[in-house]
């Protein structure tokens, strides 16, 4: 069976074709990718799909202004909605520098949630 997917790693959006192949090293044959990142993405999608999460959190003592945050890498796709709920409980305290860690080692993945903006 061939699975078709649009690569989401960059805006080019290559059309990937993924086929199970017992005799290949990874277990899959991937075609249609313009660069190696596409192959890596396709394999991840088959084995343990991940997504980078970006969101916003409240800032203590500031009304009507949110702090943008992002995960430093992908977290398991099936955990994204749970993670969003957890994130919404956090509140940042000024001064905030871009890159400041808000949540460390999310679900033991080694990935952090960090501030995406400096707010003094």
């Amino acid at each position: 069976m061939i699975i078709e997917k649009t690569c989401i790693v960059c805006p080019i959006g290559c059309h990937l074709k993924i086929e199970k192949k017992q005799n290949s090293e990874s277990g899959y044959e991937i075609t249609g990718n313009n660069c190696p990142r596409g192959e890596k993405y396709a394999l991840k999608e088959m084995i343990n799909p991940e997504r980078i999460v970006t969101s916003t959190i409240k800032i203590k003592d500031l009304k009507n202004l949110m702090l943008p945050v992002k995960t430093t890498d992908g977290i398991p796709k099936d955990k994204v909605l749970d993670f969003m709920k957890e994130v919404s409980n956090y509140e940042a305290i000024r001064p905030i520098k871009r890159g400041d860690i808000i949540i460390e080692n999310i679900y033991g993945t080694g990935v952090n949630l960090v501030a995406a903006k400096t707010i003094n």
Partner: protein
């Protein structure tokens, strides 16, 4: 009247890049004007990642991309004013500006770079019939309200138009707990990137209906439902396909138009196709010494390309100013 070598109108990525480049090319006396309370332009509300793959070789969020340029601007000691709206530019490069605190002022420039970005098409430009209840807003407005102000825009949402901002907002609102029921596109193929169809709609099983539009909006104070219909080859709704869908919010993601009222005030000629100023290979308009770059020129999908273009405008404006001396 205060005099500057270069005045840049707009503090988004285009204006920031152009100012930084002009400084690198030896222009000392530069002023950047921004109507918002902070620099960075539309990037401040684009909290998703995917910016900077070409310029920085990494995937940044909009606010991060903006901040890197704002830091560079500060390091270069370039003067800027926020909360400052440019009202008019004359063809001899006198700018009328107004600031919340300092009031009205006229300033003169040897060269001007237009970097005002673009605005969204709104419902008026679309001519959807029906009532005018609250709960109808553009994707960019929704993006600002949710991502900057932290407001909740609605619970049950229909999105008209498959532009990237609409797709990104479909995901964002879903992650925030809203139910995005449907995305409609009048054309037979999506207008946004396939990558966004995949990661913003398919990931959350949000249906996309192509060749469909909205033929009516219902509700008194607040949107209660929309009538969805397939369109014929002339893009007119087919009555027999109409279906009413309950929702409390309708988001319009139907395209961007360059923001050129100011350009016109300076006598800059506008291309009727791109809606942006007509420029030569130096990004100079028909008015000598007035340059343009970024979304004011034409709508760019990638901010990286805005930055590259802004460097050209900054460099060419610097050449122009130096040639005057």
């Amino acid at each position: 009247m205060k005099n500057y070598d270069l005045v840049v109108v707009g503090g988004g990525p285009a204006g920031l890049g152009a100012a930084i480049k002009a400084r690198e090319n030896g222009i000392e006396n530069i002023l950047v004007l921004e109507r918002d309370h902070e620099l960075g332009g539309i990037l401040n509300q684009c909290i998703h990642n995917g910016f900077g793959l070409h310029v920085f070789n990494e995937e940044l969020t909009g606010p991060e991309y903006a901040e890197i340029f704002v830091e560079k601007l500060r390091e270069s000691k370039i003067e800027y004013r926020t909360n400052t709206f440019v009202l008019n530019i004359s063809n001899n490069k006198v700018l009328d500006i107004i600031n919340d605190e300092t009031g009205f002022e006229k300033i003169e420039a040897k060269a001007v770079i237009l970097a005002m970005g673009c605005r969204e098409r709104s419902r008026g430009a679309l001519k959807i019939p029906g009532t005018r209840p609250s709960g109808v807003l553009t994707a960019g407005t929704a993006q600002r309200l949710v991502n900057i102000n932290g407001y909740n825009v609605g619970k049950e949402i229909v999105i008209l138009g498959s532009g990237d901002i609409g797709l990104i907002m479909a995901r964002r609102l879903t992650l925030e707990g809203a139910k995005v029921k449907l995305v409609l596109e009048i054309m037979d193929k999506p207008s946004g990137l396939e990558r966004n169809i995949n990661q913003c709609l398919n990931d959350f099983d949000i249906p996309l209906r192509l060749s469909h539009t909205i033929s009516d909006i219902k509700g008194n104070d607040r949107v209660e439902s929309v009538v969805v219909a397939q369109v014929d080859e002339n893009l007119n709704p087919i009555k027999s396909t109409e279906e009413e869908i309950k929702c409390d919010t309708l988001i319009l993601s139907v395209g961007l138009i360059p923001e050129n009222e100011l350009s016109k005030s300076a006598g800059v000629l506008i291309d009727s196709k791109s809606n942006g100023p007509i420029v030569d290979e130096n990004l100079e308009t028909n008015v000598r010494g007035i340059f343009a770059c970024g979304n004011v020129l034409h709508v760019h999908g990638l901010v990286d390309n805005v930055t590259k273009e802004s460097y050209i405008a900054g460099e060419k404006a610097a050449d122009y100013i130096k040639a005057l001396a």
